[in-house]
């Protein structure tokens, strides 16, 4: 059984995503919508981690540390400046949130095959929010891109 590897990874990725949302919130205080929403979405990710916790416990932490290295999500270590910087930071968040999203999908597949109702309920609740996070990031980037890429000084 390798599900525990994926659960551990998801648990970690949600934490990383939460930290990255906070990082972007702190770095882009002059964009109030980004600032406030990133805080709200960070809370959402933390809640996802919290909801996952009992399931991770149940399947057990991965003792072998066999998690494939390249699936490990790197968080944002710093934020960039200016309109293009904002766009790139949002894009980094997008990549991270995509990883979380697709991992939820994999975990859901396994949960269905295992008929693990508790797990499926958590997936149901969290994965929907993750896809809204992705849609928001896309909406905001689409708004910012023309100005940042064409007109910004």
């Amino acid at each position: 059984m390798n599900l525990n590897i994926y659960l551990g990874m998801l648990h970690q990725a949600e934490k990383t995503l939460a930290e990255s949302f906070r990082q972007v919130a702190a770095g882009h205080g002059d964009e109030p919508d980004v600032h406030f929403l990133c805080h709200t979405l960070a809370q959402q990710c933390e809640e996802h981690s919290r909801l996952l916790h009992p399931i991770v416990e149940r399947y057990g932490e991965d003792p072998s540390d066999a998690e494939p290295e390249r699936l490990h999500a790197e968080g944002l270590s710093s934020t960039r400046q200016g309109p293009v910087g904002l766009l790139r930071d949002l894009q980094d968040l997008y990549l991270l949130a995509s990883l979380v999203d697709v991992t939820w999908t994999m975990v859901k597949q396994a949960g269905s095959a295992l008929r693990d109702r508790e797990l499926l309920e958590v997936v149901e609740r969290c994965d929907g929010e993750t896809s809204v996070q992705l849609r928001w990031l896309q909406t905001r980037m689409k708004q910012a891109a023309p100005q940042a890429l064409i007109a910004a000084r």
Partner: protein
């Protein structure tokens, strides 16, 4: 004669449920003018709030000298409020009016001729378009121009320049009304009608101080209240407004917590089964999700968040759930607060759950603030596509490209339109370098004024301001254009309940002032904007050409104007759209059949996630919303982002008084209104004032993280822990700058907006208050409105303000029951081909008589 400063709502004319609201013709003439002196009366409607009261302007010797309400109009049945009576013509007929264009030379504004001013604009415009492209241009307009002017501006922006950076100050006043209607019903368009007041059993006012913002509409409610079978009234407002005083239930919620309350009201409705299951089944989608979202929100949970008694929440829910016919009205208390769109959508949801729509007395009025805000939204001067078209629908973009004969790629539709706050952000960052501001005053009306002033003062930003007066904003401009005002130009506009009125030119504008339409057309001509065929993009000669072009643009859309003409609007009542072959006399209320404009090929918007503002997109919308169903949209409650703390322990909210409109550019020129509310003040509850050692009239400093104001304190009956300041008081009548004691409420507000409607949050911030000087008398706040002094404070022996009156200068006549009340559709002039008498003959030229003879 009635003193209409002391008696804001005038004499009562009670009427019963399902009765017709009696006529009362209000009239005020200038000093020394009698009715016999008047040369002619010119038809118009008032532009000092969104109510749209029809009126006639009295003209004598080429000047406006008085006003009276139009008895036969469906909106006001002859009435006018204090602003209409005392600031309509008085607000524009003032010696301070701008008479010539001005340009900035060596840091100073100097007068010049039109050619010089327009050349300066077009030179800069051309250079920027060449060097940096259309995204360097931003337009910030108003809620106070005419339809024809917005449409011209929208065509210039979308088809001439091709910039998405266009918005109006309607973003600050009415964006959430539009957003909530689009989210729930698929398109903008007011479901209800003012006639719902005549027929309702209960009226809910959500953050809507109707008594002060639309005084004539409130008169209608008062007349029902004074009648034999009064409707129950529920008021949601942190202040003890006149509405609250007449309410059966007053929920004085903590600012910023509306959604918690709304979730609880829906929760209660569901818990008691006060729902129309067949209606929900047949006409809505999203019920299960709505149910899940409100599930935790019982009355106790909301009571703890909102700080109101749970029993009152239950009582309000019971009134909503058990009254036969309910009317809901929503305004700034919801629109300018946290989670604005989600809270306003819950109002729509309540009506859908009970199937209370499309029948007399069962209406929703998502109100507008400004008189012509509706047209700004229809025409797309707020960035949307004209005619409630959907920017995510390539078919709609193509329709416009065909109509205008331009390349569809010119029309900015690749992303949502840029909202006002973002336009200013781009200007701050230097990527918008050309900002054209028309008929609005952001230097006083936008949040966080110290920042706005800095942006407007940036030397790299080229600012054009087009206005009646040298406003605070105009003082920062590079070019100032003198505009013609109300009564000095012809055009149409549309009020809250879709009623279109014509406002005819009564007199010549002062000096060289020109109508906003002429200015926009001139810019377009000078810039050489053309169609694909090489024809001028805007070949209109005047307003009627613009109106006729607009009619074509609306054909087949929800706001269909094709059955309306200038000629039909003259003489009769205003006409509520849609007016077309199917609805030849217009339409009193929408959605009588429960079919909503959510067809994906027809709708104005595919909607958003209400928490984040993420777009739903065409695929997901098609997959989840069956055409014709309304969407029960919802979001969970989140606390406001700035909450009181140790440093800033009080909640701050801003708003209006009955005697002023916006930044007082017009009402501040009226002697009667200025005497009634001469200077700024701040309201504090008696307990808070006592604790802080503040007495009536003491000078206090109110400070937030962003700025401060220093104004006298009024001890009022506002809820504890909350401080209120009216937002009208800028600096044009002092020396143009904040000076030693700043007074503009927006010095303190924060830069934040609703994720869906992008309407700024003016009604929640954290502040601290301290006394900085002894009173020199009572605070200059009216005693006739929500700012009236608290009875509790009076007992403490504080200074008693003099009652607010007109002092003999504010007398108006009120002719009660002068004529039988107008009714829909009889009051509307029949169109060509109608067999009703008094119709407009087909093919007659609509120049018609533009003035009515003296009666």
């Amino acid at each position: 004669m009635v003193d209409r400063i002391a008696q804001i709502w005038g004499t009562r004319t009670p009427y019963p449920r399902d009765g017709l609201w009696p006529v009362r013709v209000d009239q005020a003439l200038g000093e020394g003018v009698s009715a016999d002196d008047v040369d002619r009366w010119v038809q118009s409607a008032c532009v000092l709030c969104s109510n749209g009261c029809a009126c006639d302007i009295a003209v004598k010797d080429g000047a406006m000298v008085g006003i009276r309400g139009r008895a036969g109009d469906l909106v006001n049945h002859g009435r006018l409020g204090p602003k209409g009576l005392f600031a309509s013509w008085q607000g524009v007929s003032h010696k301070d009016r701008l008479q010539r264009p001005m340009i900035r030379e060596n840091g100073r504004l100097v007068e010049c001729d039109w050619d010089t001013a327009m050349n300066r604009i077009t030179e800069r415009s051309r250079q920027l378009l060449r060097d940096r492209g259309p995204l360097s241009h931003g337009f910030y307009t108003s809620g106070q121009l005419f339809l024809e002017e917005y449409y011209a501006l929208a065509v210039i922006g979308k088809a001439g320049i091709g910039t998405p950076h266009m918005d109006g100050n309607t973003r600050l006043c009415t964006a959430t009304a539009a957003a909530a209607l689009k989210e729930t019903f698929g398109a903008d368009g007011q479901p209800g009608s003012y006639t719902d007041i005549d027929s309702c059993d209960a009226i809910f006012l959500y953050g809507h101080n109707m008594a002060e913002t639309q005084t004539v509409l409130w008169s209608r409610v008062l007349d029902r209240i004074a009648g034999p079978d009064r409707p129950k009234v529920v008021c949601i407002d942190p202040r003890d407004t006149e509405v609250a005083r007449h309410a059966d239930v007053h929920l004085a919620v903590r600012p910023g917590t509306n959604l918690a309350l709304m979730n609880a009201l829906v929760h209660e409705i569901l818990a008691h089964g006060w729902v129309d299951e067949a209606y929900i089944q047949a006409h809505t989608v999203g019920f299960e999700q709505l149910k899940a979202t409100v599930e935790p929100w019982n009355a106790e949970a909301a009571a703890a968040i909102c700080d109101v008694p749970a029993a009152d929440i239950r009582k309000a829910a019971r009134i909503f759930g058990t009254s036969g016919r309910v009317l809901s009205t929503v305004l700034q208390g919801f629109y300018q607060s946290a989670q604005a769109t989600a809270s306003s959508c819950q109002v729509n949801n309540l009506h859908l759950l009970r199937g209370l729509l499309g029948r007399p007395g069962c209406g929703i009025l998502q109100m507008n603030g400004q008189p012509t805000a509706q047209n700004n939204r229809e025409c797309g001067a707020d960035g949307d596509l004209p005619g409630f078209r959907n920017w995510e629908n390539p078919g709609h973009v193509q329709e416009l490209a065909d109509l205008w004969d331009i390349d569809p790629l010119t029309i900015p539709h690749w992303a949502p339109p840029t909202h006002a706050m973002q336009i200013f952000r781009y200007a701050e960052q230097g990527s918008i370098e050309f900002l054209w501001i028309s008929a609005t005053n952001p230097a006083v009306s936008m949040p966080q004024l110290p920042r706005i002033r800095e942006i407007l003062a940036k030397p790299e930003l080229f600012v054009v301001v087009q206005d009646l007066y040298l406003t605070e904003t105009a003082q920062a401009a590079d070019v100032v254009l003198p505009a013609a005002g109300w009564g000095e130009k012809t055009g149409t506009f549309t009020n809250v309940n879709r009623t279109v009125h014509l406002s005819d030119k009564a007199v010549e504008p002062p000096g060289e002032a020109r109508s906003d339409l002429d200015i926009f057309l001139d810019y377009s001509r000078r810039m050489g904007f053309t169609t694909r065929q090489g024809e001028p993009l805007l070949a209109w000669e005047g307003p009627e050409d613009a109106f006729n072009a607009w009619r074509e643009c609306t054909r087949g859309r929800p706001c269909d104007y094709t059955g309306i003409s200038y000629e039909r609007l003259r003489g009769g009542s205003g006409i509520p759209w849609p007016c077309n072959e199917e609805n030849p006399d217009g339409r009193d209320r929408l959605y009588t059949d429960g079919i909503f404009p959510t067809d994906p090929d027809y709708c104005e918007s595919y909607g958003h996630d209400l928490l984040t503002g993420a777009t739903v997109g065409p695929e997901a919308f098609r997959a989840t919303v069956p055409a014709g169903r309304a969407v029960l949209k919802t979001a969970d409650y989140h606390p406001p982002h700035e909450e009181p703390d140790g440093e800033y322990p009080l909640r701050y909210t801003t708003g209006r008084t009955a005697y002023h409109f916006h930044t007082r550019t017009k009402t501040g020129r009226s002697r009667q209104l200025t005497q009634a509310a001469p200077r700024a003040w701040v309201e504090l509850g008696a307990d808070d004032a006592g604790r802080l050692g503040i007495g009536e009239g003491d000078l206090v400093r109110v400070e937030s993280r962003r700025g401060r104001i220093e104004v006298p304190a009024r001890i009022s009956d506002i809820r504890a822990g909350t401080v209120f300041a009216p937002f009208h008081y800028g600096y044009w009548d002092s020396d143009g700058t904040p000076g030693e004691h700043p007074t503009a409420a927006n010095e303190l507000t924060l830069t934040e907006w609703d994720p869906v409607s992008k309407q700024p949050v003016f009604k929640n911030a954290a502040v601290r208050v301290e006394k900085i000087g002894d009173a020199e008398g009572p605070a200059p706040a009216p005693t006739t409105t929500a700012s009236r002094p608290s009875a509790a404070a009076e007992n403490q022996g504080t200074r008693r303000p003099r009652p607010t009156t007109g002092g003999g200068e504010a007398d108006a006549t009120e002719d009660v029951a002068a004529t039988p009340p107008p009714r829909f559709p009889d009051a509307v002039r029949p169109g060509p081909g109608s067999d009703r008498p008094g119709g407009v003959s087909a093919g007659s030229n609509s120049a018609g008589s533009d003035q009515e003879a003296r009666p």
